[in-house]
């Protein structure tokens, strides 16, 4: 008789307690993945597999070890738990380390998350391949200058997460996701090629945008880069397209975690309750949103999911916490423990987004006499301790309110403390296409480095 994954997780936690742990929790992830890439009309890659992994945390006298395995045979599990307990013995006691208090999972979990699409399993490989083919064909058809492709890919995954702890929490949820991506390429002068991609991603198969739309937009974004050039170094307004706006928001979140706070490695330290940004900015983390890509009923420690308003009209309300960082800083967990199978929980975002504003994107672009419409960023130039920001960039130059010509091989830089205050227009075009999302927004000034 096959044991359910919940049984296995409960068994492992019990073994840990029997072996001497004061407390323990186990997370068990199992899933099935499928991915196909079609290139120039033919299947280029096809991957299909299932996997599962178990992660265990044990606490004994305030000492902690975190271990993982994929071998779930009973004898292997017994050895696995023993090793975790041995490892914990060499660490130093930390009075704040441990499981959440049971109040954390007392509130009822959200039930209507639509995180799992039962019809996804019925979509055949042939249907998935066909969607990828159509997306690629649409990109080629959209513009004769699109002469190459790095492929159209369809991916789907579905799986289950189990979390059990020794204080009585036991939770299970299923989740699924699918996406279709197309990368188009056009030849430019000097041996350079211009590439760009577009994609659609959703929990439910029926919520995916059409492959024709994906292909068409990939082609459009690619050909508008033809002839890209550098520009002179200057300070100008910068309009952030939703893709980079989303990346901005996602990186900013790293400065808003409880870990960064207790390590004193964030420029937002001591600024709770203060106006740290323009009143046009509201940032929310919400794992309870129906049908969104990062929705979940509980976090990586079992804390019931809740909506957290991190920044409201520019006022910083507080950091995203897990149990440990909350205890370190004298605050409460916010239900933001991120947890993979191998590794300890740490605070992270779920569905994290900048709320839509009132301006139309076209209006935002029109407001710029001379400046940058930023569409791409590259690099590791984020210092969340000091707020220093410097990234490689590409986009379109705005002249007298119109998108005039493509630019690349430039940089944008500034300091996040000022940049947040400098957001003076926020678009109404918020679309969720990933875990993080943001509308178009404008910063009144940034240094653009080029010639």
């Amino acid at each position: 008789m096959a044991e359910s994954l919940l049984d296995i997780a409960e068994h492992v936690v019990k073994l840990a307690r029997q072996g001497g742990a004061d407390a323990a929790d186990a997370v068990l992830d199992s899933g099935v993945e499928f991915s196909v890439t079609v290139r120039r009309g033919e299947v280029e890659k096809l991957i299909e597999a299932s996997a599962r992994g178990l992660g265990l945390r044990v606490f004994r006298g305030g000492r902690c070890a975190v271990t993982y395995t994929s071998d779930l045979a009973p004898a292997a599990l017994a050895r696995f738990v023993e090793q975790a307990l041995d490892l914990a013995a060499i660490t130093d006691p930390d009075p704040l380390a441990g499981l959440p208090d049971p109040e954390a999972w007392a509130p009822p979990q959200p039930t209507d998350l639509a995180a799992y699409d039962p019809t996804l399993g019925d979509v055949t490989a042939e249907q998935k391949i066909e969607l990828a083919r159509r997306a690629e064909a649409a990109a080629f058809a959209a513009d004769p200058r699109v002469t190459n492709s790095d492929g159209a890919s369809f991916s789907s995954e579905y799986g289950e997460r189990v979390l059990v702890n020794s204080l009585g929490f036991a939770g299970v949820y299923r989740a699924s996701g699918c996406s279709l991506t197309m990368e188009a390429i056009a030849d430019d002068t000097d041996g350079k090629k211009r590439n760009d991609y577009w994609y659609t991603a959703a929990r439910a198969f029926a919520d995916l945008e059409s492959p024709e739309e994906v292909g068409r937009i990939a082609a459009e974004r690619t050909v508008r880069k033809l002839g890209a050039r550098q520009v002179a170094t200057q300070t100008v307004p910068v309009v952030w397209d939703p893709m980079v706006a989303r990346s901005f928001v996602g990186n900013l979140a790293r400065a808003m975690t409880g870990d960064a706070l207790y390590r004193r490695a964030t420029f937002l330290i001591d600024r709770e309750g203060e106006q740290v940004a323009s009143p046009l900015i509201t940032l929310i983390d919400d794992p309870t949103l129906r049908g969104r890509l990062r929705s979940r009923p509980f976090d990586g420690e079992g804390t019931t999911s809740r909506r957290n308003e991190v920044l409201v009209e520019g006022v910083f309300r507080g950091f995203l916490m897990d149990t440990y960082s909350a205890r370190k800083t004298g605050r409460q967990t916010t239900g933001n423990a991120s947890r993979g199978v191998s590794g300890s929980p740490s605070p992270g975002t779920t569905n994290f987004y900048m709320a839509a504003g009132a301006s139309k994107p076209a209006e935002i672009i029109r407001s710029v006499e001379s400046g940058l419409y930023l569409t791409e960023m590259m690099g590791f130039g984020w210092n969340i301790t000091t707020g220093d920001f410097s990234q490689g960039a590409a986009g379109l130059w705005i002249e007298r309110g119109e998108l005039a010509y493509p630019v690349s091989e430039i940089n944008v830089s500034g300091n996040l403390v000022e940049m947040l205050q400098d957001v003076d227009m926020v678009g109404d075009d918020l679309v969720f296409r990933a875990g993080t999302a943001a509308p178009t927004f404008r910063m009144r000034k940034l240094v653009v480095s080029g010639l």
């Binding site: 041996g191 590791f380 000091t386 490689g392």
Partner: protein, 494 residues
């Protein structure tokens, strides 16, 4: 490289078994995976047709220690194991994997991968024979086999040295990660190759606080060593480096914005090569003609002072491998010679397309991933200039020493690297440190502007990880001191 196959029985007692034999013995003893099992799976993989198949067995054991707030905060570790099965049919690849080493489960994965094939063909009998390989990292006692308790002293020493460096150092986080990876690859063209790969990595992050100014810096090192690494790279030296960088940043001024000459210090500046040419010279991009280096073999792509090499054979280096993840021995591959493009880094599919020998660059992150061309250790050969002369040649520019990372768009060739330690150069002298800044250039253009190459080649010390299409692999980089006459510096001071 020796081409004579070793006998099927592992070890004949005359010499220590090479990596292939060691790995084969491990999987046979631990999981009963021997030649007949592998040959059966290969036949199963090719049962629907297909030109080529390979099996990739992996057993990876990891251990980690976290030392923070002057205490051993957490210990961890685990095992990742499984087999990935690949079938190639024309230009298409089918892939499946399983964590379950039972015959049934592995056959199921082979059949799944087999579905990619369209041409029915009876596969002939497959006979796998181990290939001989040198061992570039014969670590006597892998650190994964050392008890965690014996490593704690190293962490404490790093913590104490960082704090002792300066009273402004208020927080130190030290983490030590080690792993041992056994891998075994069996191919339908009869090769059996394997490796035993140790890896050690220490990371030290320091926070320095002076009034309201808070600065962080990260240092560390590692490679394919056991704990003897710390005899020559002491925890104290590594920790002091991180502390020094954090303290220095309090005095950092705004970096300039615009185009400037830049002197890249020896060692970690090799990240320039990794981004400017490395990725663009991976053969998959060139086979598909998506790279800006497509069709440029034989043409100048850099100044004649530049000879760039990708070399997986450097002893004990983080980026080295004895054999790639497709069963091909690694090599020292000259990518660019005196500025002229020589060739690309290959994987099996690309080598077949270009009609060349595989170069030993077919790598994968784990058995769950398909291989593709990846770098190993990428560096530029030393030149003739004395490093001091290079700095003296710059009236106003930037001197870059340490980096946070880099990235590239291989289609147009634009690449960036983010600097964590850099200084102004004024009239040939190194002056004020500058705040973190990112530089952007374009591969062929920037490399054509290399106007001086120093005689001081240095390899980076065991910290870099390369990401491509969702797969991370450990790599090494190296450079002599180099002058780039013009590159865009993304500062804030105009």
């Amino acid at each position: 490289m020796s081409a004579s196959p070793a006998p099927r029985a592992p070890g004949d007692g005359a010499s220590p078994p090479g990596p292939s034999q060691q790995a084969a013995a491990f999987f046979a003893a631990r999981f009963g995976i021997d030649a007949p099992v592998m040959e059966d799976l290969l036949a199963c993989a090719l049962s629907e047709g297909g030109d080529y198949a390979d099996l990739y067995f992996e057993h990876r054991q990891t251990a980690s220690l976290l030392f923070e707030e002057q205490a051993v905060k957490r210990a961890g570790g685990g095992v990742l194991q499984g087999v990935g099965i690949r079938v190639v049919s024309g230009d298409a690849t089918g892939y499946a994997y399983t964590e379950d080493f039972s015959q049934d489960s592995m056959r199921q994965a082979a059949r799944t991968a087999a579905r990619i094939a369209r041409h029915n063909r009876e596969p002939g009998p497959i006979d796998v024979t181990p290939i001989a390989l040198p061992n570039r990292y014969p670590v006597l006692l892998p650190s994964i086999d050392v008890r965690a308790a014996e490593k704690l002293g190293l962490l404490r020493r790093a913590d104490e040295a960082a704090r002792a460096y300066d009273p402004s150092i208020t927080r130190v986080v030290v983490s030590l990660a080690d792993e041992q990876r056994h891998l075994l690859i069996a191919t339908s063209d009869g090769r059996l190759a394997g490796d035993v790969q140790p890896m050690l990595r220490i990371s030290i992050q320091c926070l320095s606080e002076r009034g309201k100014s808070r600065q962080t810096a990260v240092g560390g090192g590692g490679g394919r060593f056991g704990l003897e690494y710390f005899d020559t790279h002491t925890p104290e030296d590594l920790a002091r480096e991180a502390a020094r960088q954090a303290v220095l940043l309090h005095d950092a001024v705004e970096a300039p914005a615009g185009q400037f000459p830049v002197v890249l210090g020896a060692g970690d500046s090799g990240i320039l090569l990794h981004e400017a040419v490395g990725h663009g010279l991976e053969a998959d991009f060139n086979r598909k003609q998506t790279s800006n280096y497509s069709g440029r073999v034989g043409k100048p792509v850099a100044s004649p002072l530049c000879t760039v090499v990708d070399d997986g054979t450097i002893d004990f280096s983080r980026g080295s491998i004895n054999v790639d993840d497709e069963g091909n021995p690694t090599a020292r591959n000259v990518l660019i010679a005196d500025g002229v493009l020589q060739g690309y880094m290959q994987d099996h599919i690309s080598a077949r397309h270009f009609g060349v020998t595989p170069s030993g660059n077919g790598r994968r992150e784990t058995f769950k991933h398909m291989p593709m061309p990846r770098m190993t250790n990428t560096y530029m050969l030393p030149g003739e200039s004395a490093p001091e002369d290079i700095l003296r040649a710059v009236p106003k520019g930037l001197y870059c020493v340490a980096y946070g990372g880099g990235q590239v768009n291989i289609s147009n060739g634009d690449f960036v690297f983010s600097v964590t330690e850099a200084y102004m150069i004024e009239n040939g002298h190194v002056t004020a440190p500058v705040r973190n800044v990112t530089l952007i250039g374009n591969g062929p253009d920037t490399l054509s502007k290399v106007t001086m190459v120093g005689s001081d080649l240095k390899l980076s010390d065991g910290r870099w990880t390369c990401g491509k299409e969702g797969q991370s692999v450990p790599v090494g980089v190296g450079m002599p001191t180099v002058l780039v006459s013009s590159i865009t510096v993304g500062g804030t001071k105009q």
